[in-house]
């Protein structure tokens, strides 16, 4: 059973032409290479401690680090620095897994799916950010009001979710069903952009013949970038349901809303069926646009080679879409869960930026309601306090302001950089505040001791310390 509703468009944003390559043919199955690579990096790119050591045998599904699972069985060949899919282009300690063909599986999840199983399977968001799904689901609290399935896929050049709807809708509905059992939401809504006509037909048909516990409604929204960004989408749904939008400090889970990417839901569905969620669809655009079904951990070069899209002289590799994506120099980096698109595009001379002429074109397109013009001048002035007051932390780096700026100012890049600088200086501030507090306590103690020495008072005695010392002297075990 499904119900249709129409929704207004998101606030801000920009309407872009539809460009969804590689949907004409079925996905290309990329053969698993002999060595899979797993960067041990967390949600923000921070290195994670390894849970395995070199030489250890691992099973498919075994955790290599917090939230990172081996997608095949084998043994750990090496653990060393290796480039990973990240805009910084840096390297991170990575597990090199020599695969064997035994396919020994760590655990088989049974229905009903539990949060613990999701955590152990290391399922992360497939939409591009890679947030831990377990953390998201665990944060929703007592009552889940809305389960939103994000099939918006607003960015031109990325079509993997649409491909999933066209090829494996049953797997998606499996995941929907499992999530409905787990979260018991009041309402389940699948949000999709209006221009995905064929995919929508598949969806309607599948919902019609499915036996989901409760109704799933389909929300058609206007095709506008970046309607698929989580906060923007949640605000759209809230507005459409006549609730207030999220406050600045609020997360969707604070309001009992769980918003998951379609491919993430599909991965959960695979898990619920006792299978490993070890592959994902990746849009590959270049000489031969297609969709590739890739085992996580496969080097990017391998994918490009098998699909016939290796870059030529003067081309560059882009991970992600033209707006939210980034150039990546090293094709040895592996496909991890947040790599949703690979593009081989031609290098072009970027327009040299001119000064800001204060035209104000950037303001109406910001989907989060920020004021990019002012953020830009604050960023240039390195005014951290002003930046945080103007809401720099809420910038989702969608790139809409870049697109409309007549002076071709790289606004998004400068906001990302400013955010990074703020994170660094915040950490430094915290560290120096802690050090200052420690120093103050140290001085105070020294002063107290000095005073006691003068006045001749006995130390009041830190009784715990004193008694511990006494015990040690008497060599007796402490009383409970």
């Amino acid at each position: 059973m499904s119900a249709n509703t129409t929704a207004p468009r998101i606030t801000g944003g920009i309407e872009l032409p539809r460009y969804k390559p590689g949907l004409d043919a079925p996905p290309v199955e990329i053969t698993r290479p002999d060595t899979l690579i797993f960067p041990l990096a967390g949600y923000r790119g921070e290195p994670l401690p390894a849970r395995v050591h070199v030489g250890q045998a691992v099973r498919q599904g075994q955790l290599l680090a917090d939230g990172i699972v081996a997608t095949n069985s084998g043994h750990v060949q090496d653990l060393r620095e290796h480039p990973f899919a990240h805009p910084s282009g840096l390297s991170v300690p990575s597990v090199f897994l020599q695969c064997d063909s035994t396919d020994a599986i760590d655990s088989i999840s049974a229905r009903p799916l539990s949060l613990e199983a999701i955590r152990n399977a290391g399922i992360m968001g497939h939409g591009g950010a890679g947030f831990s799904t377990f953390n998201k689901l665990a944060a929703v609290g007592e009552q889940c009001h809305y389960l939103l399935i994000n099939a918006a896929e607003c960015e031109p050049g990325i079509a993997c979710d649409e491909a999933l709807l066209l090829t494996d809708i049953d797997g998606v509905l499996c995941g929907v069903s499992a999530l409905m059992d787990l979260l018991r939401p009041s309402e389940t809504v699948l949000v999709i952009e209006q221009d995905k006509l064929k995919a929508r037909k598949h969806l309607e048909h599948a919902l019609h013949i499915s036996d989901l516990p409760r109704a799933v409604s389909i929300l058609d929204i206007q095709a506008r970038y970046p309607s698929g960004a989580e906060r923007v989408l949640v605000d759209l749904v809230l507005r459409e349901r006549a609730h207030g939008v999220l406050a600045r400090h609020e997360r969707p889970t604070h309001r009992g809303i769980v918003c998951l990417n379609l491919a993430t839901v599909h991965a959960i569905g695979a898990l619920a069926n006792g299978q490993m969620a070890n592959q994902r669809l990746v849009t590959v655009d270049g000489r031969r646009p297609c969709h590739a079904r890739v085992t996580l951990g496969t080097p990017i070069r391998h994918v490009l080679q098998q699909t016939g899209n290796l870059p030529d002289e003067g081309d560059y590799l882009r991970i992600g879409g033209p707006l939210s994506g980034y150039e990546h120099a090293d094709m040895a980096a592996p496909v991890s869960v947040h790599v949703n698109a690979l593009s081989v595009a031609a290098q072009s001379e970027p327009r040299p930026p001119l000064p800001c002429i204060r035209c104000g074109d950037c303001v109406p397109v910001c989907p989060v309601g920020l004021y990019p013009q002012q953020l830009h001048s604050l960023a240039q002035a390195r005014d951290d306090e002003g930046l945080s007051r103007q809401g720099l932390d809420h910038c989702i780096a969608c790139g809409c302001c870049d697109l409309v700026c007549p002076s071709a100012i790289p606004l998004t890049a400068s906001f990302r950089e400013a955010q990074r600088q703020r994170t660094i200086s915040q950490a430094q501030d915290q560290a120096s505040a802690a050090a200052a507090a420690l120093h103050a306590r140290h001085n105070a103690r020294k002063q107290r001791d000095a005073n006691r020495h003068i006045t001749g008072d006995k130390a009041p005695g830190n009784s715990a310390v004193a008694s511990a010392l006494a015990r040690a002297r008497r060599k007796r075990t402490p009383k409970a």
């Binding site: 033209p322 000064p355 103007q390 071709a408």
Partner: protein, 327 residues
């Protein structure tokens, strides 16, 4: 790889911009568009008022460009990239169209130099000037050379019925007739030479600026907020004044005269020195209109717009602060 047909490549940002219709949205293209929008009015100016405006335009645009090039060279910045953005040429053009056509060229060059160097480059160049450079140049010229700056040709804007003007030269200036009155007289048979009377000439010129301004609106180069706010407010002010005094300027003169429409579409719409938000721009337009009206009605300057704009430029930081979204 094989030569021949170009290989297919993935979508990149430039292609996306072009496909989304945004490729023409560049700063140099914006400046060029404004220059094009000045053409209808300029042609009417040259034909109906005084052909010397063409010379003034050429001189001022050249002088402004040279000043900017020199300044960028001294500042050790890229000269060609800056000069080719067209903003200096535009400043020169706007100034040339604001001064009397017979102004001595050296004064025009001086005004242009001040506009480019003192009002723009000294603050850091494009995007950094708090005041409208053309208006700064105009104001300096008005104050420094009141005689030549108020000496308009006999087919002059009667609105500038100047107090400073030499009474022996122009008879028209002394009459209290409105241009429309004069036009009516001539239409009844008192033709005195020109088929097109002064008042009508200036009104037609105003329509020329209006045409250019409407084109800029259609092309989304400027937004409607400031011009509409200014014109409406000015209409209200003059309409109000007309109720109380018969000597007040007629509405058509007040609005259609060259300075008003030119200012509404080409001066107050300068993005750099104007307000940044739509509501701010409305406030800006209202402020300019009120101050212009006050200077025209109660002050001794015939040309109120330049000073009104400069005063409102000073108020822009406050306007922006009031209207900034607080996320």
């Amino acid at each position: 790889m094989s030569g021949g047909e170009p290989r297919r490549r993935a979508l990149d940002l430039d292609t996306l911009r072009r496909a989304a219709g945004l490729s023409l949205r560049t700063t140099p293209a914006t400046m060029r568009a404004v220059l094009w929008a000045l053409v209808p009015g300029t042609v009417l100016y040259a034909v109906l008022i005084d052909i010397r405006v063409i010379l003034n335009l050429a001189v001022a645009m050249l002088a402004a460009t040279l000043c900017e090039a020199m300044a960028m060279h001294v500042r050790r910045r890229p000269v060609l990239a800056t000069v080719s953005d067209g903003s200096a040429a535009l400043t020169g053009a706007l100034l040339a169209l604001s001064v009397p056509p017979g102004l001595p060229l050296w004064q025009l060059i001086l005004g242009t130099t001040i506009a480019t160097l003192l009002a723009k480059q000294v603050f850091g160049g494009l995007g950094q000037n708090p005041f409208n450079p053309a208006m700064v140049g105009l104001a300096v010229l008005l104050v420094s050379f009141p005689a030549t700056m108020t000496h308009w040709p006999h087919s002059a804007d009667p609105q500038l019925a100047p107090i400073f003007q030499d009474t022996t030269r122009t008879v028209d200036a002394l009459t209290a007739q409105t241009p429309l009155d004069r036009w009516r007289e001539q239409a009844r048979g008192h033709s005195s030479g020109d088929a097109i009377t002064p008042g009508v000439a200036w009104s037609l010129l105003g329509l020329g600026w209006l045409a250019g301004g409407l084109w800029l609106l259609w092309r989304r180069i400027i937004s409607w907020h400031a011009p509409v706010a200014m014109l409406l407010t000015l209409t209200a002010c003059h309409g109000f004044a007309a109720l109380f005094s018969s000597e007040a300027l007629s509405l058509s003169t007040a609005l259609l005269s060259g300075a008003t429409l030119f200012g509404a579409f080409f001066i107050i719409t300068d993005p750099v020195s104007g307000a940044a938000t739509p509501r701010g721009r409305i406030l800006f337009g209202v402020g300019v209109a009120l101050i212009t009206f006050a200077i025209r009605q109660f002050g001794s300057w015939p040309e109120g717009l330049a000073f009104a704009v400069l005063i409102m430029n000073g108020a822009v930081p406050l306007i922006d602060r009031l209207d900034t979204p607080r996320p």
